[in-house]
């Protein structure tokens, strides 16, 4: 099948190349999967004598398939980040020992982290006690007293 004297499969491959280039120029638009689908369609059209509508249907199916395959591949092979805790402040604080700034009474108080102060939940403790951050929810840290029973009093 030909349009304007050129084989349709060439048009498909040309479209695939243009889409791939566009993906490079305009990043993050996922054109690369569509390009892959177009290329596949072109190959199939070259091998089999298919009508134009059928080629489009094939292209749409290939596009969905390539996206699903790509997502599957993405989830299977997660490239580890060298800093998985980026933008996760509380996760960064877990395990740190901090000092209670405002006594924890009735389960909530404030602790000093660096030169900032965070809301904290945990067992009742006087100001100055040392606690360890065990987790957090929202903007509130959960803390536990530092082991060894006797909280060290620290003046800051």
């Amino acid at each position: 099948m030909e349009i304007g004297g050129i084989g349709v499969h060439w048009l498909w491959l040309l479209g695939a190349s243009v889409l791939a280039i566009l993906e490079l120029v305009v990043p993050g638009v996922f054109l690369i999967w569509v390009a892959a689908a177009a290329a596949l369609t072109g190959v199939v059209a070259a091998l089999l004598p298919l009508g134009l509508p059928f080629q489009f249907i094939l292209f749409a199916l290939f596009a969905v398939g390539s996206v699903l395959a790509g997502r599957h591949q993405y989830e299977r092979n997660i490239v580890p980040s060298t800093d998985p805790l980026l933008n996760d402040r509380i996760a960064r604080l877990i395990g740190q020992t901090v000092v209670v700034e405002t006594a924890i009474e009735g389960g909530s108080g404030r602790v000093r982290v660096g030169d900032g102060v965070w809301n904290a939940r945990g067992p009742d403790l006087p100001a100055g006690a040392r606690v360890r951050v065990t987790g957090g929810q929202g903007t509130c840290l959960t803390v536990e007293p530092v082991a060894a029973g006797t909280p060290q009093i620290e003046r800051s």
Partner: protein, 321 residues
């Protein structure tokens, strides 16, 4: 045939668009809230997500990085009624994307208004001098209040800083003069303290020197008195010796000595360069008495022998030379 091709092409385009809107690539630093038929279901974290369009859609794109919000300059009246111009910055970070997206309508406006009103509260409760000198305290109090209030929005306020505090020009002028006067006062006090200390030192030196001088005089007086005593003692001893000698010898001997001295003294009057007239301020009768004594000596001498008379003038002449 033509309409069928168009329909199929449209279908292909629709599938493409559907794919585009289903694939959610979230960039690092952001989180998207995903709504399922308008209801919040989950948060899309950085990475690739596939949320089939029509059923799911992205609600809000939340910036999870620490952000800075400028608090515009505003006029605040302090406790002592001074009008000051102040502005500041708030640093905050969204920790809970869902809360930040749905618990508050416009996060930025909300944080700004909250900080602005609390800035007024905190600085309005302080004197002008306090607002200028206690920025740390203002920052800490603001941070505490704003942080507690924004907890419900999943926002952590990391810092609130006052950038600038500008009192009105006339007050700045007065403060400058006050500072200058304060320093001048200290300078004058220091100067007068210095002169006081120096006067005290000088007086103490004088006192010391006078004491030493008086001690010297006392010592000298003691020594003088001793010397006088010693001299008197010597005189007494001499007199005693003389009187002893007289006692053991004749009383006439002493008379002879006295007469000799008198005559010598009179002779000295005669020798003085302007002594054409001799005055006898001394008791002439005594002298005459003495002469009487001499006469007696002569009489005795004549009664004994007669050779003594020429010796008297000769001894007189020898004593005069």
């Amino acid at each position: 045939m033509g309409i069928a091709i168009i329909a199929i092409i449209a279908l292909g385009v629709a599938v493409l668009l559907w794919l585009f809107s289903s694939i959610k690539m979230v960039r690092q630093g952001y989180q998207y809230t995903i709504e399922h038929f308008g209801r919040f279901t989950t948060v899309a974290r950085p990475g690739l997500g596939f949320y089939p369009a029509f059923f799911y859609r992205v609600g809000r794109r939340i910036n999870m990085m620490e952000q800075v919000l400028d608090i515009p300059g505003q006029e605040i009246i302090t406790k002592d009624n001074a009008m000051i111009q102040t502005d500041g910055v708030v640093f905050f970070q969204v920790l809970d994307a869902a809360k930040a997206a749905y618990e508050v309508s416009d996060l930025y406006v909300a944080i700004m208004q909250l900080t602005t009103t609390n800035l007024r509260t905190v600085m309005g409760s302080m004197d002008l001098d306090e607002t200028l000198s206690k920025r740390d305290e203002i920052n800490a109090r603001l941070l505490s209040v704003v942080d507690q209030a924004t907890e419900a929005w999943g926002v952590k306020i990391t810092r609130v800083e006052i950038k600038d505090i500008r009192p009105p020009a006339d007050i700045v002028n007065a403060m400058g003069r006050q500072m200058k006067a304060e320093r001048e006062k200290r300078a004058v006090i220091l100067e007068s303290e210095g002169s006081r200390a120096s006067a005290i030192l000088r007086a103490e030196g004088e006192k010391q020197s006078q004491i030493l001088e008086a001690e010297g005089r006392r010592e000298a007086a003691f020594r003088d008195a001793e010397a006088r005593e010693r001299a008197a003692q010597a005189e007494a001893t001499a007199t005693k010796l003389v009187s002893d000698a007289i006692e053991s010898g004749s009383a006439q001997a002493i008379n002879y000595f006295i007469a000799q001295k008198y005559v010598e003294a009179v002779g000295q009057f005669a020798n003085s360069p302007n002594a054409k007239t001799i005055l006898f301020p001394v008791e002439a009768t005594q002298l005459i008495g003495t002469l009487g004594g001499i006469g007696e000596l002569a009489k005795e001498a004549l009664a004994k022998g007669g050779e003594a008379s020429p010796t008297v003038p000769s001894t007189r002449g020898g004593g005069g030379r």
